[in-house]
């Protein structure tokens, strides 16, 4: 439908386009009435409503009208500008106008989706459209700024996500800095025994990739390192990395391990972090046999020389003429410049101390699932034998699902992987011990390729499934060493006590404890439970709201290995796309000083966070460096003489918006 009203010669001729978004907008807002109403607003020449403005015919309509009706400005009332502003700017530009002769009105996220009453929502849409029509008439032609994109990429986190992303980028010839805070890369995946639902060994598929990282000439791998500061902007980030001392020269150590044998500690006494304290290590150690880099690490917390300075330093003696050990090594601070950043900082497992009623840390035979991964792993503390802390092999095992997941008292979210890894564990336990395995679950969640089939297979193998959440774990009173799992069997509708030798807590996934610090350092957003927030849950699942930064893997939310790898690939591809373009277009929303009005008071100079404003002594005027300005507008609001203007957000444009939304207040 078309309503036209011709404005006088030379006056802006605005085209207003109201999107139905199927029923998303049209279901709540009277779009036909709106377009009829908009047609008679001052300055409007064409007003239309259409099913999907973002579709090709929708965009074509704008272009055609610009040509046929001589439109000089375009207003589209549809979804959030964060979604389609670019689409419609391009359509405006393709129609022959400056792309910034366009204004978007958000009548979906900010109106039809949040209100139910049709009249109220339509009235609100009118106010918002009126504001845009008034504002757009003042828009000035602007040009996007292009800045070059550096080819180097920073990948933070050396788990499977970081490894995969780094390899893709490095294979494409881009230089990658891979920063990992642990002494080795590999992350959680390196701790797992086998992976569901194929039961292939995690190390067999991971270690070749870890070695490839170390060997790749395009990858600079920094372990024991953390990013401490990030500045700059898309295409041109400056990053500070702190490298903790390893006390062993990485490029000299060959990983022969003779120093470990030579250590004055004849027996290992320190809890081995990689085996979650199920075994001991010495102060000088290799985290695990396939660690990358293949070099030892000295832990200054437990090394006698660091504590007393009175060690015989037998390790240095053993290293002999290689001289790889350097106890004087100091922390290093490095500065690098990169164009893009991928965050792959992973997750942590739920700490069962928060659910003391399950007895972890109280009864020795209660384990977390990650501990059992280590027990089942042939490179683990028991050489792959399922032997409990008391030395026995379990005859019966109870796996309690949803520990720290789907629980009002801990975490509300489903950790997504626990059902499947519990099934995997049940299979592996049966394979190794022929013990009876009982799964206590709330719901079995097995959505995924061949996951349900795996579940059926587990059941056919004779694994028991009880629907119900265990309420309590306590030892059998007869001193048998067995543990009783008490809880309601919700299918039978009665209480049940199951006596088992070993209890496995299927602990959930949580955001890293320092996720909040990390997201601040990188200026991205977290959801309230600490997962990094993606730009759009469906259409931009790995992008963040900060241009040139992506997230991959479980730092964004619980996910399994294939999903993590897919995200890492996606993040790498998006970074490559930007690098390949060679430049990035920046919004032209910078500020500038109108010199005639500047009184030279210097108020603005100290306000600018980017030192983009300087004071030109010769003319006694402030001057803004357009390249450094990022367009926040702080100086504009502060200027007492109103001499600073911000492109796209000029005072007059905002005053028109205010007038527009309040026309009939």
């Amino acid at each position: 439908m078309e309503k036209s009203m011709h404005s006088g010669n030379g006056a802006p001729a605005v085209g207003v386009y109201i999107c139905h978004c199927g029923a998303n907008i049209a279901g709540t807002v009277d779009v036909a009435a709106l377009s009829e109403w908009a047609a008679i607003l001052p300055g409007v020449r064409v007003s239309r409503d259409y099913k999907y403005m973002c579709s090709d015919p929708g965009q074509e309509m704008i272009k055609q009208d610009i040509r046929d009706h001589g439109l000089s400005r375009v207003v589209v009332a549809s979804c959030s500008p964060h979604l389609h502003e670019k689409t419609f700017r391009t359509a405006t530009s393709d129609g022959g106008l400056n792309p910034f002769f366009f204004q978007m009105v958000n009548i979906r996220e900010h109106d039809s989706w949040v209100h139910k009453d049709r009249d109220v929502a339509t009235d609100k849409a009118k106010d918002l459209i009126r504001a845009a029509v008034r504002r757009v008439q003042l828009h000035k032609p602007l040009e996007v700024r292009r800045v070059p994109v550096r080819e180097e990429v920073l990948v933070v986190g050396g788990g499977i996500a970081g490894i995969h992303a780094a390899l893709i980028l490095a294979d494409a010839g881009k230089h990658v800095y891979l920063v990992e805070r642990e002494p080795t890369i590999g992350g959680h995946m390196a701790m797992f025994d086998k992976t569901f639902p194929t039961l292939d060994c995690a190390a067999c598929i991971l270690t070749p990739k870890m070695t490839a990282v170390k060997a790749h000439r395009n990858i600079t791998l920094w372990t024991l390192s953390e990013v401490t500061d990030v500045s700059g902007y898309v295409g041109n980030y400056r990053v500070t990395v702190k490298r903790k001392p390893r006390y062993v020269m990485e490029d000299v150590c060959v990983g022969c391990l003779e120093c470990i044998d030579a250590c004055v500690y004849k027996t290992a006494k320190v809890d081995d972090e990689f085996n979650l304290g199920l075994s001991k290590r010495k102060p000088i150690y290799m985290p695990f046999p396939q660690a990358v880099p293949q070099v030892v690490t000295i832990d200054p917390e437990t090394c006698i020389d660091f504590k007393s300075g009175k060690c015989k330093k037998t390790c240095i003696e053993a290293c002999d003429e290689r001289h790889a050990i350097n106890l004087q090594q100091e922390e290093q601070t490095l500065e690098i410049e990169v164009g893009t950043i991928i965050l792959a900082t992973g997750f942590r497992v739920f700490d069962p101390k928060r659910t003391p009623y399950y007895g972890h840390g109280v009864y020795p035979n209660v384990y977390t699932s990650l501990e059992v991964e280590r027990l089942l792993n042939s490179a683990g503390p028991t050489g792959g034998e399922l032997v409990m802390r008391d030395g026995r092999k379990p005859q019966s095992v109870g796996i309690i699902h949803c520990i720290g997941s789907r629980d009002e008292n801990t975490n509300r979210h489903c950790s997504k992987v626990c059902c499947m890894y519990s099934l995997k564990m049940a299979m592996l336990i049966k394979e190794k011990t022929s013990a009876e395995v009982h799964n206590f679950y709330i719901d079995m969640r097995t959505p995924g390729k061949t996951f349900e089939e795996f579940y059926n297979r587990t059941a056919e193998e004779g694994v028991h499934f009880v629907r119900g959440k265990i309420a309590d774990v306590y030892p059998e009173s007869n001193g048998s060493g067995k543990l009783i799992l008490q809880g309601e069997d919700t299918l039978l509708g009665r209480m049940r006590r199951t006596s088992v030798d070993m209890v496995i807590l299927a602990v959930g996934l949580e955001a890293q404890s320092d996720a909040e610090d990390v997201r601040r350092r990188f200026n991205i957003t977290c959801s309230s439970d600490g997962w990094f927030l993606e730009r759009h849950p469906k259409l931009a699942p790995v992008a963040t709201f900060t241009d040139g930064m992506w997230v991959a893997g479980a730092c964004q939310g619980p996910k399994d290995i294939p999903e993590t790898v897919a995200q890492a690939g996606a993040a790498a591809a998006e970074a490559l796309s930007l690098i390949n373009a060679g430049y990035v277009e920046l919004e032209p929303n910078t500020a500038f000083v109108v010199e005639e009005a500047c009184s030279g008071c210097k108020t603005c100079v100290s306000l600018c966070p980017y030192t983009a404003i300087s004071f030109v002594e010769a003319r006694e005027k402030a001057e803004i460096n357009e390249v450094l300005c990022k367009g926040c507008g702080v100086c504009v609001a502060a200027c007492p003489s109103g001499s600073i203007t911000q492109n796209l957000f000029e005072d007059e444009e905002i005053f028109e918006e205010i007038k527009g939304v309040l026309a009939y207040a």
């Binding site: 996220e109 504001a131 309230s528 367009g631 926040c632 702080v634 609001a637 911000q646 939304v661």
Partner: protein, 160 residues
């Protein structure tokens, strides 16, 4: 000093719906409002959101102008302290907010009518709560009743 005369209590009509102008920053609060949409959170329809890049861009004149043009309230939304996309624009907004609020109070504009909320892009629920709460309070206050110079004149005449 003049004695202040209490103004006659105006009863707020039951159908009164205030209009509130909201200035939201592009990176946090505007996105919180987008997320509220995605979650289909039903909140009071009285706010009209105007997008600025940073809460630090909000010129006190915008607020005064909104009240002058008939807004019954003004809501400013920005990123949490420490989270500003532009490092510290929200701190500038905070400083201006406190100053401006006292000026507005001098003018007879109740403090409930001018509000600042730190809302991150993930805080759609909090946005709903803030908007609903503000609308309820402003609705109870009724339309803006700014004292006009004539009222002061009358006051003065009465005293003398």
């Amino acid at each position: 000093m003049l004695e202040t005369t209490t103004k006659p209590v105006e009863t707020v009509p039951a159908t009164y719906e205030p209009k509130i102008v909201a200035f939201f920053c592009n990176w946090c609060t505007y996105l919180a409002a987008d997320l509220a949409g995605t979650f289909r959170l039903d909140y009071a329809p009285n706010i009209r959101i105007i997008r600025v890049m940073c809460s630090g861009r909000i010129d006190p004149q915008f607020v005064l102008d909104a009240f002058a043009k008939g807004a019954a309230g003004v809501l400013i939304g920005g990123c949490h302290p420490g989270d500003c996309h532009y490092e510290a624009g929200n701190y500038k907004a905070l400083r201006r907010f406190h100053l401006l609020r006292s000026v507005l109070q001098e003018m007879g504009i109740e403090e409930e009518r001018f509000r600042l909320e730190w809302l991150s892009a993930a805080e759609a629920d909090q946005l709903k709560k803030a908007v609903d709460d503000m609308v309820a309070k402003v609705r109870a206050l009724g339309p803006l009743h700014l004292e006009t110079p004539e009222e002061h004149f009358a006051e003065e005449v009465m005293v003398s």
